[in-house]
């Protein structure tokens, strides 16, 4: 027989599962068990909205990608990976050879633009905003309403802002014409016009974050 604590814990788990599912469905309300401790419900609500997911600076992201790419090349060649350039060696941005289909084209261009400012660019204040649709990562795309901090915590936001600005400019002048972009549009049956509308929404979202 379950103890009182275990029963309450199961009730709490069901509620938390419901919260997670509601986020995925973008549903505002979550069914609540009448026996659920109201304090637990309050705490879960606060943590749900208050515990933001963090993203490191884009400069760090690209730098680590470069480090991993170097390591991957050495691994493929059967060499040790001990002497790979560390991720903290900032300023060099190189697209990873095997780019994922989850990435929006242009992110590399944006990241490249970020390096133009150099590592001494002044760091603006930390930005928060809606989960960035422009990232298009599946795990984030599923939760566009979740808050997200970009640029690490208080550091490196300059590169994030520059990346966004560069991406906006790049996206205006470059419709998604890559292989993955074409494949995605074909799969979803999107016309160029509807795609344009979606991109406008994305850009507006970005401007909302940056401005």
């Amino acid at each position: 027989m379950l103890g009182e604590d275990s029963r309450d814990a199961r009730r709490t788990e069901r509620y938390l599962d419901g919260l997670l599912a509601a986020d995925e469905r973008h549903a505002p309300a979550v069914p609540v068990d009448a026996d659920l401790d109201p304090g637990v419900e309050l705490a879960a609500g606060r943590l749900r909205s208050g515990l933001v997911r963090l993203h490191p600076s884009f400069r760090f992201e690209e730098s680590l990608a470069t480090t991993l790419a170097s390591a991957a090349i050495r691994l493929r060649a059967g060499l040790p990976v001990d002497d790979v350039t560390p991720a903290s060696d900032l300023g060099r941005v190189a697209p990873f050879p095997g780019r994922s289909e989850y990435e929006v084209e242009g992110v590399a261009a944006a990241a490249g633009a970020a390096t133009v400012a150099g590592p001494d660019a002044p760091a603006p204040r930390l930005q928060t905003g809606p989960a960035p649709a422009w990232r298009r990562l599946p795990e984030m795309a599923g939760h566009p309403s979740r808050p997200l901090l970009v640029g690490g915590v208080g550091v490196g936001v300059a590169s994030a802002a520059l990346s966004l600005g560069a991406y906006v400019a790049w996206r205006h002048s470059h419709p998604a014409a890559g292989r993955m972009g074409r494949a995605a549009r074909a799969a979803h049956g999107r016309s160029g016009r509807s795609g344009q509308g979606r991109r406008t929404g994305v850009i507006n979202g970005i401007l909302g974050v940056v401005s």
């Binding site: 604590d5 309450d8 814990a9 709490t12 788990e13 938390l16 997670l20 986020d23 304090g39 637990v40 309050l42 705490a43 879960a44 606060r46 943590l47 749900r48 909205s49 208050g50 515990l51 933001v52 997911r53 963090l54 993203h55 490191p56 992201e61 680590l64 990608a65 480090t67 991993l68 790419a69 390591a71 991957a72 691994l75 493929r76 990976v81 790979v84 991720a87 903290s88 990873f96 050879p97 095997g98 780019r99 994922s100 989850y102 990435e103 204040r125 930390l126 930005q127 928060t128 905003g129 990562l137 795990e139 984030m140 939760h143 808050p147 997200l148 690490g152 915590v153 208080g154 550091v155």
Partner: protein
């Protein structure tokens, strides 16, 4: 020898369903440069976990770099073992099973070890700096309302005051959005223990919030 992600696996239960990261993992095994897809997919989650645990931006970046490097080098030894995990959940649909990722659990087990080593190595790090970090989350020109700022501050501070094991479970649940089964696999505890950890953590946070309100 490969090590199972999920320790307690019953005989006769073999991986049968697709793991959502199987394609990416297999591609990265064939060509390590394809690891980039997994890296981009999980970067924010891993960095968030490291930051909430280490409470220092630079330490979190260092740890994140080590975690992904270990994952890249160790990928040939990764073994997808969804047995116990899926047997316990019995997903109703293929879509449900597609949500599962033993790679994510494996990656977070690496993260847990790297972060634990980091904490051991630098015990001088002030453990209250999460409160300082909460200040970063509330610049007036970004967060739209005072209520939103208070929510973020209250959540960070309440979590900072939790005992280590409860805090870790809360972070994995709310920040990384893991299920109880995934958290149990990452923390190497039973699902029942994780359930109780989370329940008690929420009660502690509730008391904390009540105290602040009163």
């Amino acid at each position: 020898m490969s090590r199972s992600v999920f320790g307690r696996v019953e005989e006769g239960t073999r991986p049968a369903r697709l793991d959502r990261d199987r394609g990416l993992v297999e591609a990265a095994r064939r060509d390590p440069s394809r690891f980039d897809a997994l890296y981009r997919k999980y970067l924010a989650q891993v960095y968030s976990y490291a930051y909430y645990e280490l409470r220092d931006h630079h330490a979190a970046e260092d740890a994140t770099g080590r975690i992904f490097m270990q994952a890249l080098v160790g990928l040939p030894r990764f073994e997808e073992r969804v047995d116990a995990f899926i047997a316990a959940r019995t997903p109703a649909t293929a879509a449900d099973s597609a949500e599962l990722s033993t790679f994510r659990v494996w990656l977070f087990r690496i993260a847990r070890n790297v972060v634990a080593n980091e904490r051991r190595r630098d015990r001088r790090r002030p453990i209250s700096s999460l409160d300082e970090a909460a200040g970063f989350t509330a610049p007036g020109d970004v967060v739209e309302t005072a209520a939103a700022r208070e929510t973020v501050d209250a959540a960070w501070q309440a979590v900072a005051r939790l005992p280590e094991d409860r805090r870790r479970a809360v972070i994995l649940r709310f920040v990384d959005e893991m299920s109880t089964a995934e958290i149990a696999a990452v923390l190497d505890r039973s699902e029942g223990a994780v359930r109780v950890l989370l329940h008690r953590a929420l009660r502690s946070v509730a008391e904390d919030l009540r105290g602040r309100l009163s």
